[in-house]
């Protein structure tokens, strides 16, 4: 119960907030930081529901 309450207490990201640091895997399974994908162009990212 306490852990669940803590999870809900974490602040949710809101518009204007900085994206948190995230690491993704590219097509060769190399690590890519999300930050590297928006430094030279605005980024639009779609999070797929369960495919892939």
């Amino acid at each position: 119960m306490a852990a669940a309450a803590l999870a809900y207490a974490q602040p949710m990201l809101a518009l204007g907030d900085a994206l948190p640091a995230m690491t993704l895997l590219d097509a060769d399974d190399r690590q890519v930081s999300l930050a590297s994908l928006h430094t030279d162009a605005p980024l639009a990212a779609i999070f797929l529901r369960h495919f892939g």
Partner: protein, 132 residues
């Protein structure tokens, strides 16, 4: 989204998709579905959690979509490619979403899907890009 990827390019934006598998699995799905933009993997689902993307339950995955939006549900079934869904790392209860960030990394648009039929609207993402 695939049919309108050129509109993102015209705005100078980078369009990507993120899946729940590895990067290689995401690339395989991109080839299967003939997606022209880059697909990345998030096998630990850390990015999903960081953005606060939610999960649904058994009812939300099965009966609720048909009760709330039968047309979209049937369209999703018709358009589903089971080869793309065959991934043991996928959390079938995980809901998707979308974001737009500017070059500084500030969040300019965020959609957290509230159900399996709640899909981010392409026009909303494009409008967010126009506002940058």
């Amino acid at each position: 989204m695939q049919g309108r990827s050129e509109e993102f390019r015209k705005r100078g934006a980078r369009l990507i998709a993120i899946g729940q598998g590895t990067g290689q699995e995401a690339a395989r799905i991109a080839r299967l579905l003939r997606v022209s933009y880059a697909c990345y993997g998030d096998p630990g689902h850390a990015a999903y959690r960081a953005l606060g993307l939610g999960r649904t339950g058994v009812f939300g995955l099965t009966l609720a979509p048909f009760l709330s939006d039968p047309v979209s549900s049937l369209r999703n079934i018709r358009g589903a490619d089971l080869r793309a869904a065959a991934n043991p790392r996928s959390d079938v209860f995980r809901l998707g979403g979308a974001l737009v960030a500017d070059r500084a990394g500030k969040l300019r648009f965020l959609h957290r899907s509230q159900s399996t039929t709640d899909v981010p609207k392409t026009d909303a993402l494009l409008a967010a890009l126009d506002g940058i």
